[in-house]
C-alpha cells in the first residue's frame, strides 16, 4: 500500500510551488494515494533488460541551420506580462 502522508503532500506541493489550502491537502492526500496505488502496478514487471522510451519516434538528432533569424519584437514579448519595467519583467523580490 502506497498511502502518502500529509507531510509528503506538503513537501511535494512546495516542490511544485503550489500553495494548497488545508482542505486541498486532505483531499489530495486521499486522491494521490489512490492514484499512486493504481500506477504502482508498473513495478510488477521484470524490466531489467528493457531500455526506456523517452520519445516514440526513432529520431536521433534534429539539426537546424545555424542561421540567425529575427525573434519576436519586445512589445510582443511583453504583451501578456503581468508587470513590465522597460525591457524587464518585474517581479516581487526573490
Amino acid at each position: 500500500m502506497t498511502r502518502i502522508t500529509r507531510d509528503e503532500v506538503l513537501h511535494v506541493a512546495r516542490l511544485a510551488r503550489l500553495e494548497l489550502s488545508d482542505d486541498e491537502v486532505a483531499k489530495f492526500q486521499e486522491q494521490l494515494s489512490d492514484i499512486l496505488e493504481a500506477v504502482s502496478k508498473v513495478s510488477e514487471l521484470d524490466l531489467s533488460d528493457v531500455p526506456p522510451t523517452a520519445h516514440p519516434l526513432a529520431i536521433e538528432n534534429a539539426w537546424a541551420a545555424d542561421v540567425p533569424r529575427p525573434c519576436l519584437p519586445l512589445d510582443d514579448v511583453f504583451a501578456n506580462a503581468p508587470d513590465r519595467d522597460d525591457d524587464h519583467f518585474r517581479t516581487p523580490p526573490a
Binding site: 503550489l18 500553495e19 524490466l47 501578456n80 516581487p92 523580490p93
Partner: protein, 465 residues
Amino acid sequence: MSGIDTLRLTAEEAKRLLDAKEISGAELFAAYAGRDDDLNAYLLRCDDPGGEGIPIAIKDVIGTKGIRTTAGSKILESYVPVYDATVIANAKRHGLRILGKTNTDEFAMGSSTENSAFGPSRNPWDPSRVPGGSGGGSAAAVSGGLAPWALGSDTGGSIKQPAALCGHVGLRPTYGTVSRYGVVAFASSLDQVGPVAKNVRDCAWLYSIISGRDENDSTTVDVPPVELPTAEDLKGVRIGVPKEMNHVAGVEPGVTEQVDRAIALAESLGAEIGECSLPLSVDYGMPCYYLVAPAEASSNLARYDGVRYGLRVDGADFREMAMRTRDAGFGDEPKRRIMIGTYALSSGYYDAYYATAQKVRTVIKREHDAVFEKFDLIVSPTSPSVAFEFGAKTADPVAMYLSDVFTIPSCLAGLPGLNVPVGLSEGLPVGLQLIGPQFSENALFRVGHALERAIGFDVVPERLR
C-alpha cells in the same frame, strides 16, 4: 438564409458549393456563426475574417494570434497569443477561417470537459451527458452543427474518445507528423494535434492540411503524401482484434454489439479478421500513462509562475507570488497531475516511478510492433461506454482515468488512431477505434472510409434531425 444544413454539410461538399458559387463564403460562415451555442461548445466565437475558405473550429489549447487562448484554465484567462501555432498558419494558408475557440478540460486534462474552468460542454445527442474530453468542445461543435470540422489535440485519447461519444470521425495522428509549435504543452512526448470531422474523407483532407515537418518543432518528420480514400472494399486488409480490448469486462454490452457488427461488416467487405493479443499494453498502459503524462505536465506547467504571461496573484516575495498564482489559477485536475508528476520525479522516487514507466513504454511499443508484423491494423471499442452523465465520474479520478483505457496504449507507442462511428447503443453513438503502425494514416483512412460507407451511420444527432 441560404438553406445550409450545418448539421450535415461536409467540408468537401462546402468546398464544392463555394467553388460552384452556389453559396458565398460570407453565407457559409454566417450559417455556423448564427447558430445558437446551447452546448457550450465555444469559449469564444470569432467574426468572419472574410474570404471564401471553409470555416473551422479550433480547440482552445491551440495558439491563435490575436485571439484569446485559455486552454480551459483561469491561469490563461486573459492570454492573447502574439503568434499563430504552425497548424493555424497551415490552416490559414489554405484559406480556413476560424469560427471560434472550443472548450476543453483544463490543459486538456480530462475525459468529459468537466475539468474546464469555464463549465462543461454538452453532448449534442443528449445534453444531460458529457461530450467526452478533453476535446469535448470541438466534438460538440462538429456534431452539433456549429462547425463543419475542427482541430483537436490528443495526449491519451482527447480526440478519439470525444469523437466516439459524439458520433463523428477523429484522428490522432502518428507522433511527429503534426507540429506542436504554438500549442499549449501538456505532455510533450504524447501531445498531437489532429482533425475532427463529419466523415473520413474530410478528416484525411484536414490532416493533409495541418501535417508536415516544421522547423519550429524538432520532433516533426516528413509525412507520406495523404491519400483521400475512395475504395469501398477491404480486400487484402488484415485486421487484428486484440482479445484484451474486445469482449472484456467493463465494456458495455451495447458497445460490444456495435463493434462486433462493424468487424463482421469489415470481413464481408473482404478484410481478413484474426485474433491477436496485447497482454501487457492494456493492463499496464493506464498506470504507465498516468506516470509519464503527469511527470511531463508538472514540468511543462512550471512555466505558469506569474512572470511572463497569464495570471498573477501578488505576494510578499517571488515564491509567495508564484505559489499564490498557481493555487488561484489552476483547477483541481492540473493540481492533481502536477502533484503526481512532481512526486514521481522527486528524489528517491524517480527510479521507482518515472524511469520504470518509461521502460513499460518500451514494452508496450514492442508488443504493438509484434502485432503489426501479422496485421495491417487493429480494432477495438474507442470507449468502453457510451456518453456518461455529468458528475458520474468526477468524484473518483481513477474511474475517470479508465475512460481512456483503450485509447492510451497506442498513444504511448506513438501510433495513429482513428475513431469511426459504427452505430448506436441506447440511442447514443458507439465508436470503433482503428490503430495502425506509425505513418499508416492512409490505411486507417481507407478502412474507415469503407466501413463508413457500408454502415451508413447518420452523424446528425437523432433529436436534431
